[in-house]
């Protein structure tokens, strides 16, 4: 409790322990996969690690042995980047739209929430059926792109609500009163407040698309994206190559997260100067 500043209450220690156990629970299994992806030729899926090597990473880039990992990656990456850009553009503008009262804002909000909570598999069937009705074939750059957006846009919108909740309209009005032009008030008042949130939206857009499985399942067409490739491997591949793939995708995700969080910190630091 904040009232007892000097001595920590016993709940502090209990909850610290809970926190520690939770972090262990979150990261322990991920670390074991990371370590075991360096397993030697014994191909054991369990500890101990014998003769550490990189052979299972080699295996990944040898398409004859385990699916088409490089190909799947070459589709997942551009797809995630396009989803990221569209998510930022669409959810940021929509977020501003929701600051005004307009007819239909309620139904649109609930449509976005429904789109967020609909089981991915249900949506996947729907989009496939729609494509068939229109006589189109499913593809990762068409139907799958749309399927991913129905998942990333509501997230983007929720983040924008959280960010714009802090942007009081009186800030903009004050800027106007002080003689700022519309453009100046956007550039000097709105953008600095909203920009870190836009990076967060971009992070969500990229990672949610890059890792999405159920919404991709029926919508990618004949060529797999990375999560589908991993899904196939979970049933077919019984070698540490699966762990190696897990390590590679996790490293990529961590890289993206680090870039996003790093740039947010950098911006905040520059602003506080």
């Amino acid at each position: 409790m904040p009232s007892s500043q000097d001595r920590r209450p016993w709940t502090f220690y209990v909850l610290s322990l809970l926190m520690l156990l939770f972090v262990l629970f979150l990261y322990g299994p991920m670390i074991s996969v990371l370590v075991l992806s360096f397993q030697g030729p014994s191909a054991s899926l369990n500890f101990p690690l014998r003769d550490p090597s990189l052979i299972w990473f080699d295996e990944l880039f040898n398409p004859t042995r385990v699916g088409d990992v490089p190909g799947a990656f070459s589709r997942s990456l551009p797809l995630a980047l396009v989803v990221m850009v569209l998510t930022v553009l669409i959810s940021v503008t929509a977020g501003f739209g929701f600051r005004h009262r307009f007819r239909g804002s309620g139904p649109l909000f609930y449509m976005a929430i429904a789109s967020l909570i609909i089981p991915g598999l249900v949506l996947s069937i729907g989009i496939l059926v729609t494509a068939q009705f229109l006589g189109l074939s499913a593809s990762w750059y068409g139907t799958a792109l749309g399927a991913h957006l129905t998942w990333t846009l509501p997230f983007g919108l929720l983040i924008m609500f959280a960010i714009l909740g802090r942007l009081s309209p009186s800030y903009e009005e004050a800027a106007f009163d002080l003689g700022a032009s519309r453009w100046q008030s956007i550039k000097d008042v709105v953008v600095p407040i909203v920009f870190p949130g836009m990076i967060a939206v971009a992070l969500f857009g990229f990672t949610l698309s890059y890792d999405e499985f159920p919404r991709s399942w029926l919508t990618v067409g004949t060529r797999n994206t990375l999560p589908l490739e991993i899904w196939t491997m979970t049933t077919n591949v019984t070698s540490p190559a699966l762990y190696a793939l897990g390590t590679v995708t996790t490293v990529i995700s961590f890289f993206v997260i680090a870039v996003a969080l790093g740039s947010i910190i950098l911006i905040q630091r520059r602003r506080s100067k």
Partner: protein, 287 residues
């Protein structure tokens, strides 16, 4: 709000509306339509208006069992993630005094959210498996003679994986709600003679209800819609409502898959509307 240009908000939300109508509303409407079609072996989908698919599903005992097991999983996972989510958020907001430490710990909790779910699920294999870390420790320390079999490919493993994947969906909204609570309210309650539990029960809990509601919405709908975790972690022994859809699709029986999908969607939307009735999430979000 000003209404200088009344067309502006419509222009701003139109791309969102367009994407949602094209890739959400129309597909859902078509799933509803196809669910009344007929499935014929070797022919495929035949346009029709029949309730046979629904009758098939509702009279099949297996489907009721699948729904029952999914709801059971959802409630167990909701209880565990709710407990962890509430106390971790409470710890971060009210116990950690340094803001930078609190944000760092919060990020530690959220980073796995941005990595692959399937990989995080698979990562339990070397831990829970027959020759996994836990069994090695148990046998090695002499606590058990035989490796414990039910750790992996069991309902236990399914619950572990759900909690591992979905607790973040609880922590983030609850943390967000709690962080907005004015700390002087808590001090006032203590000064007025409230006990520690009294403060948590009467002040913190009611003020975090939006976060708890949003977290519940996420966790319940994610568990209800899942088929990959339950398939992989139970080793195919357990199923979920969505795995019935998955099975129909394997036999290319689209009409019955669609009918199953419609039923699942109705159940999920009913749960969501119940949550929204209890807590006006929209009012809290858009303000």
């Amino acid at each position: 709000m000003n209404s200088r240009s009344s067309a502006l908000p419509y222009i701003q939300v139109s791309p969102l509306a367009l994407v949602l109508i094209l890739f959400f509303s129309i597909p859902v409407a078509l799933v509803l339509l196809v669910s009344f079609f007929r499935y014929q072996m070797l022919v495929g989908i035949v346009p029709d208006f029949t309730f046979k698919n629904y009758a098939d599903i509702l009279t099949n005992r297996t489907n009721w069992m699948l729904y029952w097991s999914t709801i059971k999983f959802a409630l167990i996972v909701l209880a565990i993630t709710g407990f962890i989510g509430f106390w971790i958020s409470y710890f971060l907001v009210f116990h950690v005094r340094n803001l930078v430490t609190a944000i760092a710990l919060f990020l530690v909790c959220t980073v796995p959210f941005w990595t692959s779910n399937i990989i995080r699920m698979i990562s339990w294999r070397p831990v829970l498996g027959r020759e996994g870390v836990i069994n090695q420790a148990l046998v090695g320390s002499g606590l058990t003679d035989q490796p414990v079999e039910w750790l992996l490919y069991s309902d236990f493993a399914v619950v572990i994986a759900y909690v591992h994947l979905f607790t973040l969906f609880m922590i983030v909204p609850i943390f967000n709600s709690m962080a907005r609570i004015d700390k002087s309210l808590l001090e006032a309650a203590v000064d007025a003679g409230a006990s520690r539990w009294g403060v948590i029960w009467n002040v913190v809990l009611p003020l975090s209800k939006t976060g708890i509601a949003l977290g519940t919405l996420f966790v319940v709908t994610l568990v209800m819609g899942d088929f990959s975790v339950v398939t992989v972690m139970s080793g195919g022994l357990s199923g979920s409502a969505a795995s019935a859809i998955f099975n129909d699709l394997q036999f290319l029986n689209y009409p019955r898959a669609a009918a199953n999908a419609v039923i699942l969607l109705i159940v999920v939307l009913l749960i969501a509307s119940a949550i929204f009735r209890l807590v006006d999430v929209r009012k809290e979000l858009v303000r």
